[in-house]
Amino acid sequence: MHEENRGRVLREHFGIAAALGQYVIALAGNPNVGKSTVFNALTGLRQHTGNWPGKTVDNAQGTFTYRQKPFLLVDLPGTYSILAHTVEEQVARDFICFGQPNATLVVLDATCLERNLNLALQVMEITPNVVVCVNLMDEARKKNIAIDLPALEKELGVPVVPTAARKGEGLDTLRETLYQVSTGARKSIPRQLVYSQAVEEAVEKLVPTIQRLIDHKLNPRWVALRLLDGDKAFIESISRHLELQLSPKALQEVAAL
């Protein structure tokens, strides 16, 4: 029942046709990190997926089978952030939030990890089902950049897989990790950012009300942070995608807190 509903939401809201029993994986990353190369390497598709026509994601999906399980990979637009200042970011955020993918694969550029980690941390605030792929390892080697991957994995609290997708390096491990996270065989507790005391106190006050309003469909802490941001577009997305009527009264209730 739950899965049928997800299938319907994916179809109607995102233009994605996921078969029953298919594991859905969202693919996120900054622009130019080789996201499409990872996508093509996993799905065997050759075409360049190109840019985003409005809000539909239907021409950026591919499938693969691993250990007899069917996977649907959805290539999201390249973004530095998912705090929605642009249509692309809104698409990426809405999909990760409301499309309920079984796992989200965040592709990072090994040659500028620091800037890329911003997006990974943002995704980890939304969902624990995250796999981080450090791509362009070949480029990093050329530039003599060494990355302590076990330390990174420990710090982030989610699986980290090094790849050079262009050369096919690391893809087997990536498939296996995606399989484990999607099926729930591997659970993570991602590192969560702790904000200033004032923000944390406000979040704590908001969470019980949010939990009641959104009925456990989203991570309440994350929703609280967005409300504190005053992100109006996000509130509209909640109403639209969760198909619940957030009455002005309910929102006033939250605003009043």
């Binding site: 530095y80 952030s81 705090l83 200042h85 040659t111 500028c112 620091e114 800037r115 911003n118 941001d229």
Partner: protein, 80 residues
């Protein structure tokens, strides 16, 4: 406070660097600047200025970022 608090990214001359002290922008542009890794404490180097001084290119965490001068004016720095 020291007078250097008043210095902004727009005041950096080509080839000089500063460390961000505060980002006095709001809303979406503030969010964008923070997302690009320009947060208090970040080292920023002025790479080049266009002939009319707007926009200005900066190096931030190994990435080149161009800013309009009205935004650069509101990102305050300590000089190096």
């Amino acid at each position: 406070m020291q007078p250097s608090d008043k210095l902004s990214l727009a005041d950096l001359t080509v080839g000089t660097a500063g460390r961000i002290s505060s980002v006095e922008l709001d809303g979406l542009l503030r969010r964008r600047i923070l997302d690009l890794g320009m947060i208090p404490g970040t080292q920023v180097e002025c790479i080049r200025k266009s002939p009319v001084g707007d926009p200005i290119a900066f190096r931030v965490r190994n990435t080149m970022i161009a800013l309009r001068s009205d935004a650069a004016n509101l990102i305050k720095v300590y000089p190096f």
